[in-house]
């Protein structure tokens, strides 16, 4: 079976899509599959898509890639489709390989009309495995709701993925539930496995050999959001304030569970305005505080972030971007909040903006964001997106990993009294900071323009001075922040690709493929989005015959910044198609331009 983008034994790199209507449990099954596979020692990447409705009729696809090697992208084409419902799965067949596998329910409750059954759409070459998912589910759990677990039993048998590993994962997944729930789900799994072993003629080559690699039961299969929460905790977060919004809510939920044990507090506020208010207030009080939201919430937060910039209060804001504008596409990914993150404010409001490129960096950069916020006394916005927030990867926590993005402790100067100037003008722009509770250093802060002592002052020279001071902090940061990651051969490049955030995985894959086809291709991937790494971009640009900017939005928000910085036209490979920008799109764009 021809498989996905990375090399590796074809029989042990598989993209499994579990598709159903929302409520069919495709996502839950995907989670168990990931955990099971990771526990067996494989690498997994998972990216689900599900509708805003809890139940109802939207399509919901758990997308897992399981491989013996580390995975860069989830892959677009599936090797195996587990069809928990027919109408949605039929549409999903388009993203299944020509020799892909379909596991379907051979005994639904009623007949499908012609062409309404996924099994009827299998193309010659595809392999269909009909299993009475519904009946077996009913046998195990007295209902149709465990079809997903039955299907996992089939997957386990079919691909030689250790059944005990699945049982372990099911046990963990339903760990909080009653013994009966665990047992009946394991029974459902067993029935699926046994039925497959009894009834199916295996006709596909995927085989993990039923041999787990070294078992890694302490592996964390986490989403970007979970990694972010861990980053917050490891950074010493004291106050989290938030308001539920897809796809950021999970961060609050994880912190709600874990933060109290560390002495931190989670406040669920009545709205996002209040949430950022809490955060800025807490920052003013000298504590590490954070919030997470998505585009619509960020809109509400802008005025308070602006306040934080003006009053020089540390704060960490994670923006899990989703499709917009307005309420938009709550469950679809997009990288379209870059402009609001950098520029959204009244007046000129400079603040750092970071963007991790994979789940591990979600952890590292969130952790680092607290240090930057505190060192430079400013709100820091970290740009996630739905794809990063919800996709899962196997991650091992490492504090050292965060430090590859710099260390900023030396900016934490101790303030001295007599006379204390909260906003003293310095070379770095950073003024020694005091906060409530410190004796002899009392001062006001304000969203009004102010002088060095924090007193309102609208004079031209003061405003100029203070604007420059605030801007200078970012220049200091830029100078200190490590140079952006550059990949590819040294010297001149035929194609250079600039990308950021979650699109970097696809960009790297594209470079790899282009290089394999003989092209000199390379890339530059900044994590610090603002202040813009202009010198590095210019230097890279100078080496490139063609400069591409790849991002998941429709106007090319970062491309515009790159154009400004490099004084050249770039090729925008950008598309907001309710899914991550695929490798193939970048590759095709490069090939098209280059012939």
């Amino acid at each position: 079976m021809a498989v996905s983008e990375t090399t590796g034994p074809a029989s042990s790199d598989v993209v499994i899509k579990i598709c159903g209507a929302a409520g069919d449990g495709s996502i839950a099954a995907g989670q168990i599959l990931n955990l099971a596979a990771a526990g067996m020692g494989y690498h997994v990447m998972n990216f689900d898509s599900f509708p805003a409705e809890i139940r109802g009729f939207g399509k919901s696809v758990a997308h897992s890639r399981i491989s013996v090697e580390r995975v860069l992208t989830p892959g677009t084409m599936g090797d195996c489709l587990v069809a928990l419902d027919d109408p949605h799965s039929i549409t999903e067949l388009a993203s299944l390989r020509g020799n892909g596998i379909v596991i379907y329910d051979s005994r639904p409750a009623d007949y499908h009309e012609e062409d309404q059954a996924v099994a009827g759409w299998l193309q010659p070459g595809m392999i269909g495995y009909g299993v009475p998912l519904r009946d077996l589910s009913a046998e195990a759990t007295k209902g149709a709701k465990s079809r997903n677990i039955v299907a996992l039993g089939v997957v386990s048998w079919l691909f030689g993925l250790d059944a005990d590993g699945f049982r372990w994962a099911i046990g963990k997944r339903f760990g909080g539930k009653s013994e009966t729930v665990r047992e009946t789900n394991i029974a459902a799994f067993n029935l699926g496995w046994e039925c497959a072993a009894r009834e199916l003629d295996k006709a596909d080559p995927i085989d993990f050999g039923n041999v787990a690699l070294a078992r890694v039961e302490n592996v964390s299969i986490v989403s970007g959001n979970e990694a972010a929460a861990q980053g917050c905790i490891d950074a010493g977060l004291r106050l989290y304030a938030g308001y539920p919004i897809t796809p950021a809510t999970k961060i609050m939920e994880v912190l709600g569970r874990k933060l109290p044990a560390t002495g931190g507090v989670v406040v669920q506020t009545e709205d996002e305005i209040s949430a950022i208010g809490h955060v800025v207030g807490g920052g003013f009080a000298g504590k590490r505080c954070a919030t997470a939201t998505s585009g619509p919430g960020l809109c509400l937060m802008v005025e308070c972030i602006n306040l934080g910039v003006m009053a020089e209060v540390p704060a960490v804001i994670i923006d899990c971007q989703r499709g917009g504008p307005s309420t938009g596409l709550p469950t679809k990914t997009e990288q379209s909040d870059l402009n609001i993150a950098i520029f959204g404010a009244s007046g000129e409001s400079p603040r750092p903006v970071l963007a991790p490129t994979n789940v591990e960096e979600c952890y590292a950069l969130v952790l680092k964001a607290f240090e930057v916020a505190e060192a430079f006394q400013t709100p820091v916005i970290v740009l996630f997106d739905f794809f990063l927030s919800s996709r899962m990867e196997d991650v091992v926590w490492s504090r050292e990993a965060a430090d590859r993005f710099g260390v900023y402790e030396d900016f934490l100067a101790t303030p001295t009294p007599e006379p204390y100037a909260r906003y003293a003008i310095t070379e770095t722009g950073v003024s020694p900071r005091a906060y409530p509770g410190m004796p002899e250093l009392v001062h006001p802060i304000t969203g009004l323009e102010h002088d060095e002592h924090g007193l309102p002052n609208y004079s031209g020279p003061v405003h100029t001075r203070m604007q420059r001071k605030r801007q200078r902090k970012l220049e200091t940061l830029l100078a200190r922040w490590p140079a952006p990651e550059v990949v590819g051969p040294e010297g001149d490049l035929e194609v250079g690709i600039v990308s950021w955030g979650s699109t970097v995985g696809a960009a790297k894959n594209a470079i790899k493929r282009l290089s394999e086809s003989g092209m000199r291709a390379g890339g530059i991937f900044p994590r610090l989005m603002w202040p813009l790494a202009g010198d590095a971009l210019r230097e890279f640009s100078a080496r490139c015959g063609m400069l591409l900017v790849a991002e998941t939005n429709s106007s090319g928000q970062y491309a515009a910044l790159v154009e400004q910085a490099t004084h050249r036209d770039v090729l925008r490979v950008c598309e907001a198609a309710a899914m991550p920008l695929p490798t193939a799109a970048i590759e095709a764009a490069a090939l098209k331009v280059h012939g």
Binding site: G23, I54, Y243, P244, M252, R257, D271
Partner: protein, 290 residues
Amino acid sequence: MAQDPTTLGGTLNAEIVADISAVQQSGLLDYRSEELPTWCPGCGYYGITQALMQALADLHIENRNLAVVSGIGCAGRMPFFVNGYGFHAIHGRALPVAQGVKIAKPELTVLVVGGDGDGLGIGGGHLPHAVRRNVDLTYVLFDNGIYGLTKGQSSPTTPTGQVTGSHPYGNPDRPLDAVTLGLAYRASFMARGYAGKPHELYPIMKQALEHRGFSFVVAITPCVTFDKVNITYDRLRESWVPIPDDHDTSDLGAAMRLALSDKLYYGVFFREDRPTFNDNVEDTSGKARE
């Protein structure tokens, strides 16, 4: 065959025959859109919708003059399921948007729907002012004590101690009571009903729609997906008591005492006729022309 459920028989069947034709003749189907609601099966919102549509049908409100405004949340989906002009606006801002609609085009019947998070959380600040202006809206608050659409976090009306996604160790906050709030703000029509008893909810809805001024209906409803413990059909079924017949709906103090009592009363707590915002607009413009 399966296509033809046969519920036959003279004695056995008389009821269903009569009931189906009653539904068809009631006119309530005219207020439904073609799309089936996407709420979870079993959701109390269906009961509220049923009562609401019965009331709309009874009052023969023309579809073209019906505006349904909502914010974000499960209840926010309502405009998609109603055959009328719907505005699925943004989170918490249904009331400001709806006020704009009504003020700009007073001949519309403006129905505002939203959940407890939308109305008492993010949009809580708008409520007193909509009440204060007495814009002639009917505001139905679908109160299920949970954030359903984002999959089960605490809302402003989640009972204290309830374990939710955002409060894994139990919700520490005291829940708001929408009725007490509405009375404190002095909504010119304040009522409460229960989704599981559409027959009792329907006359309340009808009165609310008929009322001139801001009518505030709190509809208590279970979320069958994310709250299987507190606000459930089984628990609510037992605890409902009608407001006593001798209650004087013009007595705000008495209404407040009912609202504060331990019993879960349904019915109209308070109503008064006072000039609506649009009345005042006319008044003001009259004055200005003088």
